[in-house]
Subunit: 742 residues, 2 copies
């Protein structure tokens, strides 16, 4: 790629970005769009305009708002997970400690994690490496090299002493990464400890998830056996247990009732609206009972649905009873009457045999994946092994079926197989467009559905909570994109052609990467620029949600609830967001020494990303769960993985320059492993388990144990009144073994 | 080796064995030797002859006694560790369940672990493989092969369909091993659970070892900070803590006093004996105060020692106070008032940061290695890494310095360097003998000191308890002997010559092993026979301890205590015993299919070993610690390691016969890994931690907490009376923060 096309490409991206930001500034100030641009604020009962700071109405107000918001604000709006994500992108310590509202742009250079790594690296690498490379002349005489390439490692002569600068830069970048990661892990660890020791009462801190229950004796239910087992082992601290049930049928009836209720609400609004002056009686809304409301008998909606509800309610009650008594599954949530008792119980081995009574910390009620809880330990192991194999095959060989499908679905084939398409296909313009895009169609569809596919696969592993699921899917997606986009693009077809060579000589892949990397520098420069300008522009302007919301509100929504559902912002979707950022981090890290010019682009990407994400966290997204930053150890490990890839390729790249001292880089690789081991040993246990120190904190008030208990009862089984809890308990056991009231 | 020399060798061994057994039978029936042959019985206050069963006085009485003793008897005599060792050798389930006194030889075939593996394997392999191999003729025409070699795999033609029998035999042996190991692990796991839930009060079940204490604030001692920390986190269950102190100086004074006390006792006996009729006054014993009692002033021993004790006692008291107050170290034993509280606390993460307040189960008081407790977590990690590196170097390259030393210390060199040896060396007979043995001298000395060296290295890792130390040293010794005796002998010099080939092609070593193994079959047959006949003969007859005891009693011992010390039997020394047995198991396993004739020898080795070990456990050895069978997971893992070595070499051996279907063996290798993983997952946690189920058992009586507390106070610091405990407590803290009495 020559300089002109590079500049064109970056400029185009920049123009698109400016247009999108202007659009955002204009659209977000229109009150009618508040639901799209400030849903998080609205849901927390805040007015997006009144009481906001002076900057809010100025075009760049959102920037100063985002920068000045403290970490406490972020935790309040988006939870610890969002705060941890922001630490990952860039910042952390300085701002959180101050709770300041001043515009703290000057604090940014001290910010941590990826942004800090790049900033610290850039401070040294740019002023040192650019002149060192620029004043050499290895490329002189070679045709068609761009000024960008002249400022990179490629321009340095073989065996040149200038390579020392590059070699030491690798050390600098590595040490900066260690330093920043250590500080960040410490910071996140404190963040997590603080969040876990707030005086608020959280049901999950009183509960323990127990799986692999043994088969109970014939004269007792599973509930009975759980109660007696835990009462015996924790006589002073056991409160009650919720046995997991197979409540799909009860849930179906419950949802049906809810559906009818919604229909009635909607019909009443329609009915009220139809009472115009000309027709004061109005028209009673009707619908057909058959398929999709298109066929079948025409009925009065309100009457019909009320009747249906009346019919379904006793059915639900009967089904609830059957579910509670007969559909108990071999897993349970056990609730203790103190947080430290629960923390301690979740970490203690209960049974002599490991595959019985396995305990772990209970997830939040809202993020439990009920069907996965009763899976046996061996089943979980086997499922995990199968899923990992499938993912491995997808990561390495997904291109094969995609290519095969593309080959089969050529235009000619489609024309023959589906003759009715002929009319369309035979038109010349359409044909041209289709011919251009059809080959990629399978690939595009595959990539679009990949995150969902990975979520599905991770769910099949038997993971008990949504946050864990997101972490698992995010890991898989990370490997996919780093392997396919970064390594895949760099090596291109050579990798697959010489696959046998690679298998026989694993070191060969490093050499191949080393040979190919410098050539792709400009491509990745453009790639990063495109990603951040267009990606963040779209993210900030929320054009797609805006259009969908307005369409829905105009043509579909009748009741307030429906409107609310139409602007529901969802959460940050870490499962695709984190791997994509990690890809950029990997790319920038790997090129930081080869072509230091990439660093400013990386800094811009993460600074802008931090700004936009902070804005979105504060104003838009609503977290659907809180895992108190359990994502961090994964981010940490993956940054180290990227660092290792970087160190290995640099060893190859500098080695290819026939530089005698290249082996000086070798110690970096074990050093990274030791760093990973030490940080894991030091910080990870507090992410995996709850330290007693943390669980021992004071509570705001004496916990309402019944409320904690009820939080773990699925919606469709919940008794209407708290007083019914004892009846609910009794329904589950053969003997009336009621828990002693505390 | 031809047949004649093989038979000669085995017969010689057998004759030695018979002589030793006869010696044992004769010697063990002489009352004067009871202390050598029945020390364990004597120490438990049992009479070796009265009340013993009818068989005891018959020559083979010990055999029936050993066979009929139940596992409960074994646990009573030698602890769970000894019982587990017997399970490892051979038996277990059948005998323990019956508590029978009948001679249960017919039960032996059902016995488990190594013996069972070999018996089950032999049942199929011997009748099938011997005829299959014997009737082939690959060796015909080759010169100098023995009938033994004709009955082995070497006699089967290449590509022959007979190889199917050998291939399937590998599967049979593998499955037998899985089956037996699974049953044994289950059995040992129950044994451990039973032992841990006895109603006896054991101090270690109430205690938790806490290491990596943080630096206390300046106005409190370490003891204060431990007490306040644990009282805050376990308000209802914390009892008291014993802070580890650097008590070497106090211990030195204490030992000095004890030494003087012993001297007085001895002098009094000598004095009493000297009062003969001719000299009714007697002679007061005297000694010199200088070096080794050879120089210096001559003093009256009794007077002198009494004075010394009088002088030392106040010194000891002062030193005790200083130690308690000022020499507190950053580790502590924390005692809880219930077993389940201690079990739960030892498994719960206490601090947010992992390298502070790390907890683990407390070892028994008698096996604590005090100086290792205060080592920091990072120090432990680094020490471990260094020790592992040293051991790796010793295992692989110990032969290099040994050879170098041998080369330097030739007779000629010695003669030149140490001229005074000339007189000795120049005599012809001595010269011949020295020339024969001197080269091996360094090797012999090295091998003799190796177990001690490995114990020393393991101790340097920072391991907190004696039993853990023995496990660690045993593992290192296992790798040493398997690598050097088995692989080393088989491959011989070829391995070291072609070391570079091996490093480049790791699969090459398998091929080399496969080529060399069949040739060494006869050597290992002889090796196993020698090992068991001579080894067990010596073990049973206890000739060396017998001679040492009689010499000591005659010339050295004066007081009863000294006699008792002279026959103190020690414990089983698992650190060398288990690896040696494992070596035989590895050898027999690896040859089981190549030369099935080795199986009867292996069966004899383990059956006899089981018999002798059981006899020694019941009558001789006294356990010096009890780890409730924590050795088992290590034995289990190492049997699997041996199995993997076996499967890999068999793949090579059958592959070398150009047998097309050899790859059918490949799935066995992942299968073994999966088996290891599943058993580890299922059984190991109950060995690593105490399950609550087990800790919850009823106690015989309410525990005497003061006695438990005192058990963890080192001998030299122990207050004389239990009432002084509070004073003892106060001596350690700045503030008087006495524990609330329970």
């Amino acid at each position: 790629m020559d300089l002109a096309s590079f500049i064109t490409s970056v400029l185009t991206s920049f123009v698109i970005f400016v247009v999108l930001v202007l659009l955002f500034t204009w659209l977000s100030r229109r009150p009618g769009n508040a639901m799209v641009y400030y849903p998080s604020l609205l849901l927390r009962g805040l007015d997006p305009w009144e009481g906001r700071r002076r900057g809010s109405r100025s075009p760049v107000g959102w920037i100063s708002d985002a920068i000045s918001a403290s970490e406490t604000d972020v935790v309040a709006a988006g939870g610890v997970d969002a705060a941890v994500y922001l630490v990952f992108l860039s910042s952390g310590t300085p701002i959180s400690d101050e709770h300041s509202t001043i515009i703290s742009i000057d604090l940014l250079p001290f910010a941590v994690a990826v942004l800090s790594i790049l900033v610290y690296s850039g401070i040294i690498l740019l002023p040192v490496l650019l002149p060192v490379a620029g004043t050499d002349n290895a490329l002189e005489g070679a045709a068609g090299f761009s000024p960008i390439e002249k400022l990179a490692l490629g321009n340095v002569q073989k065996k040149s002493a200038r390579l020392w600068a590059f070699l030491l830069s690798v050390y600098w970048v590595s040490f900066v990464t260690y330093f920043v990661l250590w500080k960040s892990y410490k910071h996140v660890s404190n963040l997590r400890a603080t969040a876990r020791s707030t005086p608020e009462i959280k049901p999950e801190e009183f509960a323990v998830l127990v799986r692999d229950l043994p088969r109970p004796s014939p004269d007792e239910t599973i509930k009975d056996s759980v109660d007696s087992y835990f009462r015996a082992l924790h006589p002073n601290t056991f409160y009650r247990s919720v046995v997991v049930t197979d409540h799909t049928k009860a849930d179906k009836i419950y949802q049906e009732i809810e559906g009818h209720k919604q229909k009635i609400a909607r019909a009443e609004v329609v009915y009220a609206n139809s009472k115009t002056e000309s027709n004061p009686e109005g028209i009673k809304p009707t619908h057909r009972t058959g398929l999709l409301g298109l066929i079948g008998k025409k009925v009065d909606t309100i009457e019909y649905c009320s009747e249906q509800i009346k019919e379904l309610l006793p059915k639900l009650e009967a089904e609830q009873k059957t579910t509670l008594r007969e559909k108990q599954q071999r897993a349970a949530i056990v609730i203790f009457n103190s947080r430290s008792a629960a923390a301690s119980a979740s970490q203690t081995l209960h049974a002599q045999v490991f595959d019985k009574w396995t305990v772990m910390e209970a997830p939040e009620p809202r993020q439990i994946i009920w069907p996965n809880l009763p899976r046996k330990i061996y089943e979980r192991q086997i499922r995990q092994a199968v899923v990992y194999t499938i993912v491995f095959l997808i990561v390495c060989f997904y291109i094969i079926p995609i290519t095969a499908i593309s080959a089969v679905t050529t235009l000619e084939n489609l024309r023959e197989k589906l003759p009715f398409l002929k009319v369309v296909v035979d038109q010349k313009e359409i044909k041209t467009v289709l011919e251009a895009y059809l080959p990629q169609l399978a690939l595009i569809l595959f990539l679009a559905f990949l995150p969902a596919l990975l979520m599905f696969l991770s769910k099949a592993e038997g993971i008990p909570s949504q946050s864990h699921l997101v972490r698992a899917a995010s890991g898989k997606y990370f490997y996919f994109i780093v392997f396919n986009v970064f390594i895949g693009y760099t090596l291109g077809a050579t990798l697959f052609k010489s696959l046998t060579t690679v298998i026989n000589h694993p070191t060969g892949i490093v050499n191949m990467l080393a040979k190919s990397l410098p050539g792709s520098a400009t491509f990745f420069l453009t790639f990063v620029a495109l990603k951040f300008f267009v990606g963040y522009g779209l993210e900030l302007s929320r054009l797609v949600p805006l259009i969908i919301f307005h369409l829905k509100r105009k043509y579909l929504c009748k009741t307030e609830d429906e409107v609310k559902a139409a602007w529901a912002p969802g959460d940050l979707r870490y499962n695709t967001r984190v791997p994509n950022d990690m890809l950029i981090a990997t790319v920038v890290l790997c090129y930081s020494v080869i072509a230091p010019l990439i660093i400013p682009f990386g800094v811009a990407y993460f600074a802008l990303g931090w700004l936009v994400a902070k804005n979105q966290v504060l104003r838009v997204y609503v977290p659907s769960y809180e895992s108190n930053g359990r994502m961090w150890p994964h981010m940490h490990t993956r940054i180290i993985a990227a660092l290792l890839l970087y160190q290995t390729t640099m060893l190859g790249v500098i080695g290819l320059k026939v530089f005698l001292y290249a082996p000086i880089l070798v110690p970096l690789i074990p050093m990274s492993f030791i760093f990973a081991h030490v940080t894991h040993m030091r910080f990870y246990p507090a992410f995996d388990k709850t330290p007693l120190e943390v669980a021992q904190h004071e509570l705001k008030e004496a916990p309402n144990m019944d409320a904690i208990y009820t939080a773990y009862i699925p919606q469709c089984l919940k008794p209407d009144k708290l007083e019914d809890l004892d009846v609910f308990e009794d329904a589950q056991s053969h003997t009336t073994s009621r828990a002693p009231s505390i």
